[in-house]
Symmetry: C2
DNA sequence: ATTTTATTTGCAAATCATTCTCATTTACTT
DNA sequence: AAGTAAATGAGAATGATTTGCAAATAAAAT
């Protein structure tokens, strides 16, 4: 059984994002793909991340120290950013209350398309140091 | 009655942020100060914004198209970002439920220091076009 | 299968926001 | 007035991201 020849690198980039919960940056994706595709270019990673974003396959969930972090999970969820180690962590147990978006629209006249809830602080590891 | 001579530009930068609800970027602050201080340098704006941030006088509330946006309001509140015109708008009517941070800590073992709730969509103006 | 056409990619240069260096200016202290 | 420390301006440096372009790859047409 062969991997499809089409879009080999593009698919690898998407698979990389889908196979991790670490919310990597473009550079992190590039490094993660080095073994599998030693000849990949960083520009290709950026290009395809931009494409995925415009297709709704991938979201940018945060910008940490000026670096964009990505997530292949399209279902909106809650994140935690560690200010010590810069980890971006899912909080899958938590739900964003449905009512919030409606409340926002009602109180402001805006049309809400997306809602993001992000905590900052110290992750478990860093807190215990 | 005279304005203090001390820190004239620094104070102007802080006053600028405190006198607007538009969540400007460093560059926008720089432009807003052109009349009052035509000789100010962009580096000074960046330097002082960084200082204010580390002093807790100013928060960075969002990064829009790679550009950091600032807010002199330290009381945590809810924001709306228009994906069409890039406005960052306060939703002062809305409260972030107190319980959320506690829930996040309980479910994750993280120590929450800050909580940010941000909606994205079309602002009133852009929605009616 | 071979030619034609369109898409994807690598590389390097360009861009843009932000930070840094360093010489100068400003304000405070004596 | 002279000394000292902090703040500033100007421009160079940095770092992330984007872009231009030519080469490689894949798809379509023959």
């Amino acid at each position: 059984m062969e991997a499809a020849k089409q879009f080999r690198k593009r698919n690898a980039i998407l698979a990389c994002l889908q196979g991790t919960t670490s919310h990597p940056s473009a550079e992190m994706v590039y490094e993660m793909l080095q073994k599998e595709h030693p000849d990949i270019s960083l520009a290709t990673v950026y290009r395809n991340l931009a494409r995925f974003k415009s297709q709704g396959l991938v979201n940018s969930v945060a910008t940490v120290h000026g670096v964009e972090r990505f997530d292949a999970m399209t279902h909106p969820h809650v994140h935690f950013i560690c200010s010590s180690c810069d980890a971006v962590i899912d909080l899958p147990q938590m739900e964003i209350p449905e009512s919030l978006s409606a409340e926002a629209e009602a109180s402001s006249g805006c049309r809400v398309q997306d809602c993001r809830l992000t905590f900052t602080g110290l992750c478990g590891k860093c807190a215990s140091k």
